[in-house]
């Protein structure tokens, strides 16, 4: 009895306190999220700011003065242009091949029942859970044993290898939510399997394939560790930065870094806004 009375008496105060607490907590979370986003963007702000720096020495670590010089000559440093070109070539080719191979695997995994599915899933998963340095080292061991000279081909082979798994996972996510009735409808209307695939399946899973391809491109452009072990005499953009970090850091590196960032994020932003608009017009 007394305890019940105490609860009733305590409740209004409790609720007010609870409300105040909830208010604090809600804003605490907002503030925390804002701080976390600030933390995430701090190094990026530094990278962009220092692309306008006019460094005195060989290193670009302290602010010396504002200049547009680096932006008007983004490749004004020996070897930089070649490394960027090589990175883009490798990224284009490897993402193209990996997307084709990965999409086929994803189709098989989602659309068909077959023996050994668990094993296939495992083989897709393990490369993503292996430290890059082990993958890079093992490919090096392979090419050394085969007496295969390292260069463009070995970088390409390595990039396709680590990209396949990511493409499979991305495309699979899109295929799982796929309405198979649409294909059945096409077949009922007299389309054969190939036509159905071309006219119905492919357009529907295209966003997933594109997302997988873009992810593969991004991973390839950014890869350092595996490339480092298998590049031989070749220099991709991350390898160039690595070499520069020891000898001299030209601010042009920040220009290229900023450009890659702007292009990638711009593309994704357009995609997100487009999807938002489509979702709204569909609702």
């Amino acid at each position: 009895m007394t305890s019940a009375a105490a609860t009733v008496a305590a409740r209004p105060r409790g609720r007010a306190g609870w409300r105040a607490l909830a208010f604090v907590r809600r804003n605490l979370l907002n503030v925390y999220a804002l701080l976390a986003l600030g933390y995430l963007f701090l190094p990026i702000a530094i990278v962009i700011a220092f692309s306008f720096n006019n460094p005195a020495g060989r290193f670009n670590y302290t602010w010396q003065g504002f200049t547009f010089k680096n932006w008007t000559s983004p490749f004004g440093f020996p070897g930089l242009r070649d490394s960027v070109v090589l990175s883009i070539e490798i990224a284009l080719l490897s993402s193209l091949v990996a997307t084709a191979l990965g999409t086929l695997i994803a189709l098989a995994l989602v659309r068909y029942g077959f023996r050994g599915r668990g094993l296939v899933n495992l083989l897709i998963f393990v490369p993503m859970a292996t430290p890059e340095i082990v993958m890079g080292a093992s490919l090096l061991a392979l090419f050394v044993s085969w007496h295969y000279a390292q260069g463009f081909m070995t970088i390409l082979i390595a990039h396709i290898m680590f990209n396949i798994s990511y493409v499979v996972v991305t495309v699979k996510a899109r295929l799982v939510g796929f309405d198979r009735h649409l294909e059945e409808a096409a077949m009922d209307l007299g389309a054969n399997e190939w036509t159905t695939f071309q006219k119905v399946t492919l357009p529907l899973i295209m966003p997933g394939i594109l997302a997988g391809g873009l992810l593969a491109f991004a991973l390839s452009v950014d890869d350092f560790v595996i490339t480092y072990f298998n590049a031989g005499p070749k220099t991709t953009f991350p390898l160039f930065v690595w070499g520069a970090a020891r000898v001299a850091v030209p601010p042009q590196i920040n220009v290229i870094g900023t450009l890659i960032f702007v292009v990638a994020v711009g593309g994704m932003l357009v995609n997100v806004l487009f999807q938002n608009r489509r979702a709204r017009s569909a609702a």
Partner: protein, 289 residues
Amino acid sequence: MAFLHRHRWLTPYLLLLPGLAWLVVFFLVPMGYLGKTSLEKGLFPIFTFQWAWSNFHDAISLYHVQFVRSAEYAGAATVIALAISYPLAYWIAFRGGRWKNLFLLLVIAPFFVTYLIRTLAWETILSDDGVVVGTLRHLGILGSDGRLLATSVAVIAGITYNFLPFMVLPLYVSLEQIDARLIEAAQDLYASKARAFLRVTLPLSLPGVFAGTLLTFIPAAGDFINAQLLGTPRQYMIGNVIQSQFLAVRDYPSAASLSFVLMAAILIAVLVYARALGTERMTGMAAGR
């Protein structure tokens, strides 16, 4: 086409063939060569295979300091990344509303700046004449000649930052899938907000915690870039040792056995961790996503 029509069961295998062949030849087979190399003896460029198990003994006895350090740094970075990411992922999942995807993009966006450039930016931020060190010295947290660069703090900070998306994304996915009605139901049944969080939200997000911590810890344990750029040889991790043994010293057998010990150590850590967190949760995760 007609052939495929008659042998429909072949279709999935034909779809799988090119991609899996690539993975077998350039992922599995190289692992085999790495294993073979780890049992060789000799001096560059001539190594001969002789079941040299002593390589593994040498790897552990010579470099156990770097192994332990890798585990410590990667573990610390994983815990800090979890502390930073969980509230952030929670905020996006439950407060993001229509702009969820935009916020998620904002979280991933920084990682489209090349890894090495990001790390060099941290070198600038943590440098001796930078704002961070200046403030910490002013507050007396660091001595007047105290530094951050070239310490384990800098290396752990770099690792934490560089692998953050691997933590945020799985956390977000698992939090976003939680049916908000379950949390409402808990609160309708007089659970306090904290209690509802502890008993409903947190357990339902554990698959994300599991995936996120693994996806952060595994690459972090093998990393050598942060220790190289933000630390000194006194902060070197096992990745630095493997890298220099392979590419500078060219003692391939030693480097290969180190790589295998690293893989084995990670595998054991993952299994113990999965046990500790509950096997059915892990298998549930594997089946679900």
